[in-house]
Amino acid sequence: MIFGDNHLTLSHTPTQWSLSFLAEPALDLVDKTGETGLLKVHYAKEWSATREKTSAGIKEVVRPFDWSYTTSYKGTEHRAGGGKGLESDEKGRIPIELLQRRDPILFADEVVLYESELDDNGISILSVKVRVMEQRMLVLCRFFLRLDNVLVRIRDTRVYVDFGEEKVVREYTSREGEFGEVKKKLYMEGLMPDAITVAFRDANQIAHLLPVVEHEVESVDLKGESR
């Protein structure tokens, strides 16, 4: 299901710099050829093994594509007329301690950009949420893939804006772990089997259990810039 009318856009009025989160460019980054090596459902071997004798003639995967809809989308940036934009910033970081403060939230929302049930083999969802406080705001664009009994994949793009400094930090973290490993860790945390099933539906409960496979930070300082 594509929620093509949903989007979230941050714009800096003086410079007309903006960063948008949209479904279409996110889906453009999904592999359409199957060349990256397709994921298989956990019972694929069992499924095909029992069919080798009876339906051996049927071997062709029609129009292979990454059916998990995995994307590395970090948002669509728009720089007005050669103005500044996000640049790699190895030392940059999002000040978590400031975001942990219980400053009143002035605006908050969440929109889904696309979602698939993977034919009842888990979930694949790309959503964006935002919260705006007096002095700062945080956006989290999260791709969450749970392929039952195979793997869990979380790709987070966080955008932090400090209103006073007019600075934007974008942090991308890709995490991935085997389903069985995650399950073991949840069990070690003391969860009962029913609670583990529930935890697997909630990316927040499992993100910290997944090894980081990719991390990058970019930033842009928009202060004093204007067109």
């Binding site: 298989k40 219980r102 993977l118 919260r131």
Partner: protein, 434 residues
């Protein structure tokens, strides 16, 4: 008032019945279902419904639009549970109605009627939450194992029945699409014997609901109904009894070339990963030639040629299936040889789709039900009194082949109003996510 009627009344109010009553109900249901074959025979008129997915209030809306039980004869093609918030009430109500009116209610199995799937997608948790134990879930799963795998609808008419006080239905109307208030959105005429394409009758609608295909400039005459993507409706001459309609949750299987093979399966088990039973509940039609594999590594896809050959061989005019969300509620494919019917409006409470049910009316010419020898390979003429042209049709002629399809009335409906759900449309509380 009997206990069963009281249970029905309570479930209609969306209140679960006590655990001991569930146990008794499931026991009775099993006794009833065990007597049914893998493929249930249903006589038209019948109203065919797709996935429900625990959307209880939308199921009530479906009964409002399609008529109440037992006045309307219903056939549900599985996926009663999971995803929605009221899987328990929805399934138990359908089961109560099945036990109360066995001849007016047919339930066949969907891929969600399984222990493994319901553990992951909500029904198990719901039972646990509402009863404090998994007993009710277990009783229900035991019933799932006894649900039929498919149904054959016999005696469907080539012409639509005429509801009282409605616009007269011509004999040549093949497809009629109505909204929830019994208003006609559009009508499609049969192709004539000379090969003329189906024509669309324009019907003004007054409420502006889903007018795609009936508003604006005249639609091209070779288009199917809205959402069908069909290049013309199925052919056939008027007055012949329509062929039978096979109803199954997912689709066909390469292991099943004839309906009788479905009858031979041992269905009383958890849905397996292997074999034809799995395929019937899981496979999907697709715009391909022949059979294909899903990129997921499990699951078959089948093309138009497969459907047409299967329908011809089995004397079917149409396959009705569910399993896949279609935004407009129904979708006819492959020259109207197969249709997907979807009956969960605004699926998961956020997809924004409409739902549909498919009404097949009764053939009163007396020719439809007689002498049908479903699946007999060496039958002489399939009960067509020697008039049928199929005796000389070779299978390689089949790509242009169209059985005289039954007249189909689709009723399209939207989700029940929010205020009937008894739960506020709440915004999530702003959370301090990091």
């Amino acid at each position: 008032m009997s206990d069963l009627d009281r249970a029905i009344a309570q479930l209609r109010a969306c209140r679960p019945i006590p655990e001991n009553e569930v146990r008794e109900l499931c026991h009775k249901a099993r006794e009833l279902l065990i007597e049914e074959g893998n493929v249930v025979t249903v006589n038209a008129p019948v109203t065919i419904c797709g996935d429900i997915h625990g959307q209880f209030h939308d199921l009530m809306e479906l009964f409002r639009v399609g008529g109440d039980v037992p006045d309307t004869n219903y056939l549900f093609m599985g996926d009663f549970v999971d995803r929605g918030f009221y899987s328990l009430e929805s399934f138990l109500l359908l089961l109560c109605l099945k036990v109360r009116y066995p001849d007016r209610m047919t339930l066949i199995r969907g891929n969600h009627e399984s222990r493994q799937i319901t553990t992951v997608y909500g029904f198990y948790d719901e039972c646990l939450r509402k009863y404090g134990s998994a007993n009710v879930w277990r009783y229900c799963c035991d019933v799932f194992d006894y649900l039929a795998l498919g149904a054959i609808v016999l005696g469907a008419s080539n012409t639509l029945s005429q509801p009282a006080g409605s616009v007269p239905v011509g004999e040549d109307v093949e497809i009629e699409v109505c909204n929830a208030d019994q208003q006609i959105i559009s009508r499609f005429l049969r192709k004539g014997p000379n090969g003329a394409m189906g024509q669309q009758q324009q019907q003004p609608t007054t409420n502006g609901f889903s007018e795609s295909g009936s508003s604006g400039p005249p639609a091209p005459t070779n288009t199917g109904p809205p959402g069908s993507g069909a290049s013309g409706a199925s052919g056939g001459s008027i007055g012949n009894p329509a062929g039978a309609v096979l109803c199954v949750h997912g689709g066909l299987s390469p292991l099943i070339d004839n309906v009788d093979k479905i009858r031979l399966l041992d269905r009383k088990q958890e849905v397996p990963h292997e074999g034809a039973m799995c395929d019937l509940l899981w496979s999907d039609p697709d715009e391909i030639d022949g059979w294909g594999l899903s990129p997921r590594g499990a699951g078959f896809l089948f093309g138009a040629d497969i459907v047409k050959v299967f329908n011809h061989r089995n004397d079917l005019s149409l396959i009705a299936r569910a399993h896949q969300l279609v935004m407009e509620g129904f979708k006819e494919m492959f020259d109207a040889s197969i249709v997907t019917v979807w009956s969960a409006p605004n699926y998961c409470y956020r997809c924004g789709n409409v739902a549909a049910l498919l009404e097949l009316s009764e053939d009163d010419s007396g020719l439809g039900v007689l002498a049908r020898s479903n699946g007999d390979v060496n039958r002489s003429d399939g009960g067509m009194g020697g008039q049928g042209p199929r005796g000389v049709l070779m299978e390689n002629d089949l790509l242009g082949y169209n059985r005289a399809g039954p007249a189909r009335r689709y009723r399209v409906f939207q989700a029940a109003p929010q205020d009937s759900r008894g739960m506020p449309a709440k915004k999530p509380v702003a959370d301090y996510f990091l």
